[in-house]
């Protein structure tokens, strides 16, 4: 295993896209130490900012408050990357495979335009999680993002495939212009959920403030949910059993016009 511990107090962001199994695994200790990182405009060696133990490995642990460290795990295709602490913007952006776990909080653009792999955040996440970058036609196109805490605005913006599950509440515009895939909101969202969505599914276990351009279709318990429920349960995100209630299905966004669906959980009235 390779362990890197942040040793400097960062005032400006440090861009460290080299913190990825694809870059680190093939390298020996000394080569890793010499890798370039960017502190603002200045290029530094990785070991100017990190204490590094071990040689290149598919198993990497990065420790410390990395809130200002950006691009960790950028475009990684394999291996396991564990962040013990917080992580900065663009964690796992363009990721294709492998797994990232964060024990603390992360900021914006987590898993931006990712196409595969798994990201699991124990703390809170920022905005634009799994989203398309500005102007891009599609956001996340595969893989999954699981967040135990809250998340910010525009999560899953223009996502095409894949799964996002957030245990805490999220802010505005979840699933904005969504084209496919699934977003599970265990604690609901603020407003404008699913705005301008084309296709895809948003599941909320809490009542949602829906856009006026969504139509209520029917109540049901779709069979595909069973597959998701099983998968999510394995990660500790348990959907309530069908015996306890059902989902009300809303279709929209009529402004597109889109055929996205928002499923809102309705427990059976307590007896």
């Amino acid at each position: 295993m390779l362990t890197l511990t942040l040793k400097t107090a960062l005032t400006v962001p440090l861009e460290a896209e080299v913190l990825s199994p694809d870059v680190l695994a093939p390298l020996a200790h000394d080569a890793i130490r010499a890798l370039p990182v960017m502190l603002g405009k200045r290029q530094h060696r990785l070991d100017e900012h990190f204490d590094i133990t071990g040689d290149g490995s598919e198993e990497i642990e990065v420790r410390g408050d990395l809130t200002k460290v950006k691009w960790i795990g950028r475009a990684m295709t394999r291996g396991r990357l564990r962040v013990v602490g917080n992580a900065g913007m663009h964690l796992g952006a363009y990721m294709k495979g492998g797994a990232i776990e964060v024990t603390g909080n992360v900021t914006d653009w987590l898993g931006g335009e990712m196409s595969g792999g798994t990201i699991h955040v124990r703390g809170n996440a920022g905005g634009q999680l799994g989203s398309a970058y500005r102007g891009g036609m599609s956001g996340m196109s595969g893989g999954q993002i699981l967040v135990e805490g809250t998340a910010g605005i525009e999560i899953g913006m223009r996502m095409k495939r894949g799964l996002i599950a957030i245990r805490g509440p999220v802010r505005d515009f979840a699933g904005l212009q969504m084209k496919g895939g699934t977003i599970v909101l265990m604690s609901g969202a603020e407003q404008r959920t699913g705005a301008w969505m084309v296709r895809g599914t948003i599941i909320s276990l809490k009542p949602l403030k829906l856009m006026p351009t969504f139509a209520s279709a029917c109540s049901y318990n779709p069979s595909f949910l069973g597959v998701y429920a099983k998968h999510l349960a394995a990660h500790g995100f348990a959907l309530p059993p069908a015996s306890e209630g059902g989902y009300r299905r809303h279709v929209g966004d009529a402004s597109v016009p889109g055929k996205g669906e928002i499923l809102v959980w309705h427990p059976h009235a307590a007896t």
């Binding site: 398309a132 970058y133 500005r134 102007g135 891009g136 036609m137």
Partner: protein
């Protein structure tokens, strides 16, 4: 001072076809000899070309800059130009930044470019961008075929006054030539309409038709003796079956000089998108028989780009066809433009035909002096992909190889598989430099004769033309060594050419009241002043000739 020695020189204008001889440079010009102490570049094993001249490109101005704002996702994938002490930062994607444009053109041995579409109202903007476009020399064409002051005068048959206005406008925009885009159609588009046929009146007019606009402007340009003939983007761009409109347009021009821009987009047969086919043969036949015409290819290459034209109706159609983003920008009383990001796909029937038609025209037009290599940058492909086209023209086998990738059902709708012609290096020098320089009327460009501007590109002689022309070993611009051993060593500022036709300044008294009625800025703030144009080089046009 500089001597390039030992290279095979291609200078078609002066009849030099690959002879090993010295090219000498002093004071920014080609000279007969330089003293022995002058720096010598050993060009053995290399070929020496006059710097490339782009007759039709979109590298600056409001429309292009509008497009830049629309495609951040393409910029992110583009080639970064890093800031260095010699070089300003930028991006070289489908709409390169100003500095990148200069570096990238020069970096492939092209040293002059004609920005093909400038509205007068924002000409100051275009010139600001051109001033920030280093190394290359520039000129531009002002848009006129939808200018309502001109159209109104044609409506009332006031040709002489229209000519005075046109002359005034060319100088007001500090333009070099005049371009007609979808004559009448853009004016119609402002009401959401278009002009399809040449003989239908333009929406909002009774007497003005696309045909009358084309004929009048061609007469005006010839009578004003502008160095570059009327630059025409025909009606019905991109539409299946549009070749008849193109033939009609060329016929309407008999007796006038004209440059047919991006002819590829105007050479389609068929009735709709499903039956679309190449019509390069009838177009090339007519064109070959009419020496009053020149053209540029507007060739298409497969890949990502963004389309920008003053042809608003076409752009709206493209948007509806692709469902992608669309931007439109109309300019009061003068013109408009549309912007749609686009991907040309090998497997797409229409795109494959477009790709073939561009190459077919280049191969079917017999006189290389009258056809210029362009992609209507960035519409058909970005200009930095020109070397790919050169290879396709020079290498029949490579062409055959490429034909295997397009859908088989396309093969019966195109003639490219039957064309065996291969361009020679001399012919490449003509379509990339000597020809466009002649078409533009830039006597000092496109050749290596004594007194010519010392714009020279030196390439390693290679079998693979694409490799050869992508990375020049040396590029000299205005006598300055810019690219050395394939690297940018030095950046200089280029000049801008403008034409000054003669006109009676009394025309301003006619324009002023019209202007305050129809425009929203002061007449006095409308013309681009000479101080605004970097390195202004004025071509004084001969006296205004009378018709007949």
């Amino acid at each position: 001072m500089l001597r390039i020695t030992g290279g095979k020189v291609y200078d078609p204008k002066n009849g030099v076809r690959g002879e090993i001889r010295d090219v000498c440079i002093a004071g920014g010009k080609i000279v007969s000899d330089v003293p022995p102490h002058a720096r010598t570049i050993d060009a053995s094993g290399m070929i020496v070309f006059p710097g490339g001249v782009d007759v039709h490109t979109h590298v600056a101005g409001a429309a292009l800059n509008f497009a830049r704002g629309l495609i951040p996702e393409q910029h992110r994938k583009s080639r970064p130009i890093f800031h260095t002490p010699q070089c300003r930062a930028g991006l070289a994607g489908s709409t390169p930044t100003t500095f990148a444009t200069g570096y990238v053109y020069a970096g492939m041995g092209w040293t002059t470019a004609n920005e093909a579409a400038v509205p007068i109202l924002s000409a100051k903007h275009t010139h600001e961008e051109l001033a920030d476009t280093p190394i290359i020399d520039k000129c531009c064409c002002v848009l006129m075929a939808n200018n309502e002051i001109i159209l109104d005068l044609l409506e009332t048959a006031e040709f002489e006054r229209a000519k005075q206005v046109a002359a005034w406008q060319v100088w007001a925009a500090k333009a070099y030539g005049v371009k007609a885009v979808n004559p009448g159609g853009v004016a119609g588009w402002k009401w959401g309409k278009d002009c399809k046929g040449l003989n239908e009146p333009v929406p909002g007019y009774k007497n003005v038709t696309p045909r009358s606009i084309i004929k009048a402007l061609a007469d005006i340009i010839d009578q004003l003796a502008l160095p570059h003939p009327l630059h025409i983007h025909c009606n019905n761009l991109g539409a299946p079956g549009n070749y008849t409109t193109t033939l009609e347009t060329m016929k309407a021009l008999e007796g006038n000089r004209a440059h047919m821009a991006h002819l590829q987009y105007h050479s389609y047969g068929g009735d709709d998108w499903f039956t679309m086919k190449s019509a390069s043969v009838p177009i090339a036949e007519y064109f070959n028989a009419h020496p009053n015409l020149t053209c540029d290819a507007g060739a298409v290459l497969f890949g990502d780009t963004v389309t920008i034209t003053a042809d608003g109706p076409w752009q709206h159609l493209l948007y509806e066809l692709t469902g992608r983003k669309w931007g439109n920008l109309d300019v009061e009383n003068e013109t408009g433009c549309g912007v749609v990001p686009y991907v040309y796909k090998e497997k797409n029937l229409v795109n494959a035909i477009q790709w073939a038609v561009g190459l077919e025209l280049l191969l079917l037009i017999t006189d290389p002096w009258r056809v210029c290599l362009t992609t209507d940058h960035p519409n058909g492909a970005t200009f930095w992909r020109y070397p790919e086209i050169v290879r396709l023209l020079m290498d029949r086998e490579f062409r055959k190889e490429q034909l295997k990738h397009i859908p088989e059902k396309v093969l019966s709708r195109i003639v490219l598989p039957d064309l065996d012609r291969e361009y020679t290096l001399s012919e490449i020098a003509i379509i990339t430099s000597a020809g466009p320089a002649r078409t533009l009327g830039l006597a000092q460009k496109g050749h290596l004769g004594i007194g010519a501007d010392a714009d020279v590109a030196v390439f390693n002689e290679r079998k693979d033309a694409m490799e050869m022309f992508s990375y020049p070993r040396f590029v000299i611009k205005s006598g300055q060594l810019i690219i050395e051993e394939g690297e940018l060593r030095n950046s200089i500022e280029g000049s801008q050419f403008a034409s000054k036709p003669t006109y009676d300044s009394a025309i301003e008294d006619y324009l002023r009241p019209l202007f305050s009625q129809h425009y929203t800025m002061s007449f006095e703030n409308y013309p681009v002043t000479e101080e605004c144009v970097h390195g202004l080089n004025v071509h004084q046009c001969g006296s205004c000739t009378q018709p007949g």
